[in-house]
Every structure is written in C-alpha cells, then in structure tokens.
C-alpha cells in the first residue's frame, strides 16, 4: 500500500514537473498569434528569433548573481519572438495587409494600442496588454518600412516598465525606445 501511495505521489510530482517545463506559452494572455507568415519566407531577407522562458530566465539569473545589467530586463519574460522580412515590391501589399489584419484582430480586445504611425512609406503599431495590477504582461509590435523591413515582434511575460526602452534598444525592436510610462498606467510615445 505504501509503495502504491509512493508511486502515485512520484507520478503526480513527475507530471507536475513535466507540465511546468513544457508550459504552453501560446496560452499566456500576452501571447499574440500573428497567423501564417510562411508566405513571406521567400523574401530575400528573413530573420526569426524565438527565445523561450528557459533561456530567458537562465540569462536573467546572471544579473541576479552579479551587478544589475541588461540581463535584468529579461527577468519575468516567457517568450521573445520576432519575424523580420525584407520589404520589396512583391510583398509590400501583403505585408501591409497582414499588419492591418493583426490590428483588426487586436482592436476591441484587452490589447491597448499605444503607438500608431502612418506615413507614406511607413506603418507601425505598438500594443500592450495589462493585467489587473496594471503590469504589462504582453507587448506586440508590427512595423513596415518600405524599401527596408517589416517586423512582427511579440514579448510575453511581465515587462518592467522602467526598462521597456532598454529592451527595445538592446533587441533593436523598432518604436520602443521612445515609450514613456506614467504612474497612472497611461503610456505614451
């Protein structure tokens, strides 16, 4: 009986451990599904970044162990994903359409658009999602610069407001460096 009980406990603990290690980040409230981007993968320039919680937390620990540094901005993050495509005449319309479809999808949800830029050859949107404590738990950036690049970026996890600009600078994410945050929870660019 004791062996059976012990086996059940071990099995339950093991299940919890496996589930904890393979937590589905797509279920996180700060996650954004950009949809199918494979049609842009034939662009002459493509970059994909996919850094998950295990790597982010391991890097963040460096900051805890030593002097606070840029790694501290990674603390609390669960995912950094980015898709960057070179823009040319063959894909610009589809990329703009994708940016608009993501904007429609996020509008009217818990996501707040804090930056919207439209120029002749440029489009950019920055969205954040807040939890009940007014903490940013998700960040999304879509941007297009004709003749240059289009970027789709999603950062999932608790994002330190004071370091959001630093995060943008360090990862070279467009349109984040100028974001300031007020204590009343309103953000501006």
């Amino acid at each position: 009986m004791n062996k059976l009980f012990l086996s059940i406990i071990i099995a339950v603990l093991f299940t919890f451990t496996v589930n904890a290690q393979t937590g589905d980040v797509t279920k996180e409230p700060g996650y954004v599904d950009f949809g199918n981007l494979t049609e842009f993968e034939n662009s002459t320039g493509v970059t994909e970044v996919m850094i998950e919680e295990d790597l982010l937390s391991a890097l963040a620990q460096i900051s805890d162990e030593e002097d606070p540094n840029i790694m501290s901005v990674l603390s609390g993050l669960k995912l950094v994903k980015a898709f960057v495509f070179e823009v040319d005449d063959t894909n610009i319309d589809k990329l703009l359409s994708k940016i608009n479809s993501i904007d429609s999808k996020l509008s009217g949800t818990d996501w707040k658009r804090i930056v919207k830029t439209r120029k002749e050859n440029e489009a950019a949107n920055v969205y954040i999602k807040l939890n009940g404590k007014k903490q940013i738990i998700g960040l999304a950036v879509t941007s297009l610069d004709a003749g240059d690049e289009a970027a789709f970026v999603n950062i999932v996890g608790t994002i330190d407001l004071a370091t959001i600009g630093k995060l943008g600078k360090q990862f070279n994410i467009p349109h984040l460096e100028g974001i300031k945050h007020h204590k009343d929870g309103k953000d501006e660019n």
Partner: protein
C-alpha cells in the same frame, strides 16, 4: 621514436586539439545530407578546455578583456567544421532548407533561437531543448555560396550569450 609519439599524444590531450567527436560528426553528416552531400571537408577540429584556457591566459595578459577572459574560461570545448561547396552544386540558402535542418537538429535535442537568411547567406543558432541544459550547448550553422561552417560550443554559455546581447546587441532587425 616512442618519445615522439608520447609528445604528440601529450600535446593532443593536453591542448584538447583533436578531431571532432561522434555527435558532431553525426550532426554534420545529417546536415550535409540535406545539402545533397555537395560539400567536401576543408577542415574540422576540436579545441578542449586546456587550449581555451591557454588562449584565455594570453588574452588575460593583454589586460583589457577581462570579461572575454572570464567568458572563455567557462567554455569547455569548441568543435569547428568548415566544408567547401563542390562546384556546380545547386543547393542554395532558402527557408525550406533551413526548416529541414531544424527538423534534423530537433531530432538531436536542439532548438533554434535565431535563424536568418540574407540573400545567399544563411545562419542559424541552436541551443539545447532540455531546459536544464539550455545554456550548455550551442550550435551555429552558417552557409554561403562558398562554404558551410558548423560550430559547436560546449560549457557554461550564459556569459557568451549575455555578451552577445549586452555588448554586440542581439539584433532582431536585420
């Protein structure tokens, strides 16, 4: 004569500068297979912690790269393979090729963190899928019109990746 062999053996073991290991060869064979074996080996070698520490000592003597010195001390081994493209081969860098390489790497317990294609150049960085080992192994695969380069780095890689982010900027934009 025996002394000669002894010295050579000692140098190889002490510096760790010996041929690549079996796992590296397996990964290399699978990747080259994806390119239709259109490459011939230019050179491949492995550098162990002893030689890395000697290099680290040299860097340390210069006195201006303490961070790099510390970073190198955390690396236990580096394996490098450079393979030249055979003339007339048709396999060029494209995203579908990169995805098939990802599948092979995934079969070896590795996941990509960055993959990029820029014209005819392709680069991908892989780390261990096991969360507990995520920063203990890193593969870099780079392909251009002339050659394929595969690099495996083992050890505590936190400082290496932190350095890449902190000092060199981890560029999301191309």
């Amino acid at each position: 004569m025996k002394i000669k062999y002894f010295i050579i053996s000692a140098l190889l073991f002490l510096t760790g500068c010996i041929g690549v290991n079996r796992q590296f060869s397996e990964v290399k064979d699978k990747i080259l297979g994806k390119f239709g074996n259109d490459f011939k080996t230019e050179f491949q070698f492995s550098v162990g912690s002893t030689l890395i520490n000697i290099s680290s000592l040299v860097v340390g003597l210069e006195g201006s790269h303490e961070y790099i010195d510390n970073m190198m001390r955390e690396i236990s081994s580096v394996q490098v393979g450079v393979y030249n493209r055979i003339k007339g081969s048709n396999n060029r860098a494209d995203f579908s090729l990169l995805q098939t390489i990802d599948e092979e790497m995934s079969g070896n317990g590795l996941k990509y963190i960055v993959r990029t294609i820029n014209n005819d150049e392709m680069t991908a960085v892989y780390v261990n899928e096991d969360p507990g080992e995520v920063l203990h192994k890193m593969f870099v695969i780079s392909l251009n019109d002339d050659e394929l380069v595969i690099v495996e780095v083992n050890g505590d890689l936190r400082q290496v990746i932190a350095y890449a982010i902190e000092e060199q900027n981890f560029q999301i934009k191309m």
